[in-house]
Symmetry: C2
Subunit: 321 residues, 2 copies
């Protein structure tokens, strides 16, 4: 059994941490909003796969209390990536491995100070929302794609075995960048349009013909950019455009009306993960000479939404009649 | 002196109607919101070119009271184009000419029932807003580009002379479709982004690097679509891409922080002119085989904003903490 620190206990961190804890690992959560509730009542997961409760959860307010772990799973909101070192470093021993369980690009880069050999990336394809404090609502899906910054097969196997021991559906990606771009094929259109559409669910996007067309266009742009990067890295792996686009729409068509975390942040007036999900991929594509006109439009619009949330882009006054 | 019916007395109709009235024409306004105020106190134009007031204005509630005119200037909001025939037809005599003084595509088409020989299109490049009832605030610019549905030079000259008699800066376009697409080079990016950005002014668009880049991309797509249509029509006229893009940005960079009519409609909770400004040009481009990925994204997002305003696309609930 491993000692695992979960840094950033939002819906994703709580859910996967709870699965690993249920399997017997010594999981220690760094919590903020839910700290008091979890200390008092533990953690509860509601899921179509079966509800379960963890009455005794090791929840802490500071990483120093967690101490050195075998694994650190970092699932911070990426708007807080600048805090990652301060929050993760106290949990490191000489052999601790770090899993960046977050979406977007520019995520593992926040752990460059730790050296690449012990840094992993992980992306969860899961529909999950926070409930009341101490409750996580798992709705659908749950697969985790993993990779290692140096794409080391032995290291990937170690992380795969860890997640599998928690009953997690885990897949080692052809390489880490492939996994990141593949996941962006969902996050860019659906996180982007859920905010650009004013705070809407996935059902509105897939059923509106023009939002759906824009999602498809954005996906094709992401595939092109991802493949340009894979080629530039000398990787033989390629994102298969019709297969991925069809799969992302099929998964989204058949899921319930899901509220993306970015849409929830937007309507709740919180900063958006706009740079890792949209800005960094767009800038990488530009470096590679790949045009992303629809993604650029989404980035500009979501960036404006983020600026409104932060109070730095005022809106005009309504007309008095 | 001509008898001129102004159907749809928003900011644009009131402003140009007032200029023609001041020059001595018999201008009759169909009014709704401003009717009582204008009957009581007349019409007042505030402008850096000089304020002026028209104490006695012929303002009517129904087109039947206006009667047959020499010219009908129709400046309805294009969301009301289905009302155009009902509102314009009572003002027609055997030789009445109709000027569709509105932006976008699909505008003259609302007058097909009148026969093409007497239908004109006109687009105003003007910064103008409504003030309190009976007051129009002219801020900047004012040129009107005109064309005739059959591109008849003699007819164009008749309309040019009419507008010029009111001191209006009027230019006969190379042809009507050229004029419509050229104006869309401004309306699509700036109306579109002013709403997609959440209800923001032009200054926010031109000073934010990504909104500005998106505006430029959208303009280039509009130029390509417009030129494809001009080629398909057998016209030798072409929109000159660097010249138009530079000019639209220069005009917008040097204007004050202007609130587009679409942004004002949006923050005021009113339906948006989304189909004439965005939807019809996009569909025309698709027919011509021209891709408009950024414009499509803007259309999808503004269409969602319009659906929110109309109450047909609900937004999700904020997270309770």
């Amino acid at each position: 059994m491993a000692r695992i620190g979960v840094i950033g206990a939002g819906a994703v961190g709580c859910y996967y941490g709870a699965l690993l804890s249920r399997a017997g690992h010594d999981v220690r959560f760094l919590m903020r909003r839910d700290l008091d509730a979890v200390r008092a009542r533990g953690l509860r997961v509601e899921s179509p796969l079966g509800n379960f409760a963890l009455p005794d959860v090791a929840a802490f307010a500071t990483p120093g209390e967690i101490g050195a772990c075998d694994w650190v799973v970092c699932s911070l909101k990426t708007t807080a990536l600048a805090e990652a070192r301060r929050l993760v470093e106290p949990c490191l021993g000489p052999a601790t491995r770090i899993v960046a369980l977050m979406n977007g690009l520019g995520v593992e880069e926040a752990f460059a100070w730790a050296g690449p050999g012990r840094v992993f990336g992980a992306m969860a394809f899961v529909c999950i929302n926070r409930g009341e404090p101490g409750v996580v609502r798992h709705l659908e899906y749950g697969r985790v794609n993993i990779g290692h910054v140096l794409d080391d097969p032995g290291e990937c196997e170690a992380l795969r075995a860890l997640f599998a021991s928690g009953g997690i559906d885990v897949v080692v990606a052809p390489n880490l960048r492939y996994a990141r771009w593949e996941k962006l094929c969902w996050n860019i259109p659906f996180n982007g349009l859920s905010v650009a559409g004013g705070g809407i669910g996935t059902k509105a996007i897939v059923t509106d013909p023009w939002l759906r067309a824009t999602a498809g266009q954005a996906m094709r742009e992401v595939v092109a950019a991802g493949n340009a990067e894979l080629a530039a890295l000398g990787s033989a792996a390629r994102l298969d455009e019709p297969e991925i686009v069809d799969r992302m729409f099929m998964l989204t068509d058949t899921m319930g009306d899901y509220n993306t975390s970015m849409a929830i942040d937007y309507v709740s007036g919180r900063p958006l993960e706009v740079e890792t999900i949209l800005g960094n991929p767009l800038r990488r594509a530009q470096e590679l000479g790949v045009a992303m006109p629809a993604v650029q439009a989404l980035y500009a619009v979501v960036r404006a939404a983020d600026a409104r949330v932060r109070g730095t882009m005022p809106t005009i006054a309504p007309e008095r009649v």
